[in-house]
Symmetry: C2
Subunit: 447 residues, 2 copies
């Protein structure tokens, strides 16, 4: 009798979800996708947890948009207070945006900290789109080098810089692709660096042969949509010199890795000891509030600014600045960079230990709280195992843990929890992952 009730209940829940999916397709149309074979219907969040309609708890190891965690009251109150006081734009003078810009610009060090500027947008797409406009104005060139499976945005121009969009990626003649620095498949760290630099050099030559010029190298600091690569730390020194030698700018996309996530520094690129010309910011900047932007040098901004006014109705409005300032304050006051480093270190070590046990785990990569686990079949061939990755992601979801996949072959687990993730959460994650692997491998052989 009890079983019948439970099964009736779950049948009703399944029917309700089907109806919701149909309503969604009808109202939002065919371009909207959802996560998981059995999508999650979330209604509430708290810290590192999300809760669905039935009250089920999910450990959120995916949403980097809320570094301070879900439902953070400090940011909610900062937004509400500023919204009730004044919500207006940058064509009036305000102190808040200048205080925040001053605070932020210093964190980049180098030329940006010396005389650089902050420009604010609403989304990472807008930030990368604006970076492209700045780079073109500063160099008088148009071509951009990106990696083969990059994602830099959803505007028409940044979608042209996002081959990871798949079949909708429209190849433009001003966009050049290089393979990501696949440290897992290179024979040595030196080879990783050499390959990456050589590919860039060869694309620059080809750009010039075609009568064009290089405007920028645009890369995600950890190549997060290419599968998460951040080694070796010598990766970008030579590439940076090569790009500048050809008159191009180095634009680092920190939408994924910025604001302390990588643990050792506030910005992911600082790992490589380079000084970019433009740094783009986004996702975690306002703990869920739509605020993004970029930092650049006075030299780069000059040409654009003298010929072009930049106005973004909501970008840098008083409320977005209040949200961003409260988020940055929270990251500092709660020592979340330290937390990302220490918890991330233990997390990575636990994943590495799992790697030793399961042959289908080919590699564990990343730093801080941006980690990836690459799944393969055949450790000699290192063949990507996308179906296995998808099964694990869905298996984790069934066990109440949320992540997704990344990489050109969609065969790496992408792990990037809120920065307040603790050792206990790592334990819970690892138990669920081990259980999932064991369940999966009972039916599928790992190798």
């Amino acid at each position: 009798m009890k079983q019948t009730n439970t099964s009736l209940l779950s049948q009703n829940a399944a029917q309700a979800k089907q109806a919701l999916l149909q309503r969604r397709a009808r109202l939002l149309g065919p371009a909207y996708r959802h996560f998981y074979t059995d999508p999650v219907h979330v209604v509430r969040g708290n810290g590192v947890f999300l809760y669905d309609k039935e009250g089920r708890e999910y450990l959120d190891a995916y949403n980097n948009v809320v570094p301070l965690g879900h439902g953070n009251r400090d940011v909610a109150e900062a937004i509400s207070r500023q919204m009730a006081t004044l919500c207006t734009h940058t064509r009036y003078l305000q102190d808040g945006i200048l205080d925040y810009a001053e605070d932020l610009v210093g964190t980049f060090g180098g030329e940006i900290a010396r005389d650089g500027h902050i420009m604010l947008t609403c989304t990472g797409s807008e930030a990368n789109d604006l970076a492209l406009r700045l780079a073109r104005a500063a160099t008088g060139a148009d071509s951009v080098i990106i990696t083969q499976h990059a994602y830099h945005g959803n505007s028409l121009s940044t979608a042209a810089l996002s081959p990871s969009l798949g079949k909708s990626f429209l190849r433009s003649d001003w966009v050049r692709l290089v393979p990501a620095p696949d440290s897992y498949r290179a024979a040595s760290p030196e080879e990783t660096v050499r390959n990456f630099t050589n590919h860039i050099e060869s694309q620059i030559k080809d750009i010039e042969r075609s009568g064009r010029k290089l405007a920028a190298l645009l890369i995600d600091s950890f190549f997060t949509s290419d599968g998460v690569f951040s080694d070796p730390v010598t990766l970008l020194a030579e590439a940076t010199r090569t790009v500048r030698g050809a008159g191009g700018l180095v634009v680092m996309d920190e939408v994924q890795t910025g604001f302390a996530r990588t643990g050792n520094a506030l910005w992911g690129y600082q790992r490589y000891g380079i000084e970019p010309d433009i740094v783009t910011l986004g996702k975690p900047m306002g703990n869920g509030y739509p605020v993004a932007g970029l930092a650049t040098t006075a030299k780069v901004a000059r040409e654009f600014g003298e010929n072009t006014r930049y106005f973004n109705t909501f970008g840098g409005n008083t409320v977005s600045v209040a949200a961003a300032q409260a988020t940055l304050r929270g990251i500092r006051e709660q020592h979340l960079q330290d937390n990302a480093r220490t918890v991330g270190h233990v997390f990575k070590a636990a994943l590495k230990a799992l790697q030793a046990k399961y042959e289908c785990i080919g590699d564990v990569r990343g730093e801080g709280l941006y980690l990836a686990v690459e799944l393969i079949t055949g450790s000699a061939q290192k063949s990507p195992a996308p179906a296995l990755a998808s099964t694990i992601v869905n298996g984790l979801r069934e066990r109440g843990v949320l992540i997704s996949v990344t990489g050109m072959h969609a065969n790496s687990l992408k792990i990037r929890p809120p920065l307040i993730f603790s050792y206990n959460h790592v334990d819970r994650f690892m138990s669920a992952l081990t259980e999932t692997l064991d369940a999966v491998l009972r039916s599928t052989r790992c190798i």
Copy 2:
């Protein structure tokens, strides 16, 4: 003694403002502009009023971003409550976005209401950029017709659709310009319609001669950056047929005129009795919160959606939906469409009465709470008077009233206050405008 103190105080205030401007230029760079010769340093807003650092009150007759007024507590509380409950994105299932989409989609009538979709972005630029992507996918064509002094956004692609950006506007070969329907300079309403339709026809022919095809006619429903034109109501019927005959879509940009501002309808384009293929939304949608989007038919969305996933991290997140729903509710509960119509009617009549007195007022245009006053020298030649317009805008600012200018020659006053603007506010505005005109005309002759 008192005078010396006052002058010392104002000298100090002037020095403080200079220091603030320098700090702003240093931190935000040269692309950021500000309003007014003497920019306003705002610190607080309430209803239709803004307040500067010295506590001075300004009647805000310009900020359409806050239809419910500055500091609206209902929207602030809706945002805060949702932020503390759940702030996450559209890859999980949620009810809120579907309830809002269902509510909104019905307001467009016609094919959009029957089977259309809502897609959410963060800014009007993103909405127009996405409309361009949809239109191209649906038609397989690339060319877009816009008006000569249009503004449709600040992304690389929408800046290419924004000749009003001036010298930074980069002419693209897929963009065609037609003159705005200047009802003030045409001999008759019929001529306004005929000219506008003929220009579109001739551009379509030229597009086809060059081997391209028309993707869309993209227009701001009231041609607000061209100088505000909305007459006659027969303006777009024939143009719409012509565009569709050439295989193009009709995209109406409602970022300026949407959400009840024009008084007679929720959407500006409804004035013309047409049914667009795509309607883009923005500015007032969240009473200051960065939420925007578009409505379109199932037919238009199909091609794009089948080949492209659309994901916008913040676009349509739970908080943006809460802000948008609270704003739409406020517009309805406070009957702001009625208010825009009735107050706008009196406001326009008052401006028309002023036109009878001052020869330099060539025309008064618009509907509801989107009004323009065109300033000229010589009523026969109707020569634009941009210096006079600028003097009036700055004169009004000195008298505590905020507006700006619009039009190809920047010679029309642009008036678009929060929708809660009342008859008393109209009186106050009219007094300040009359006083300003009289002060200006004591030194400059009007004709």
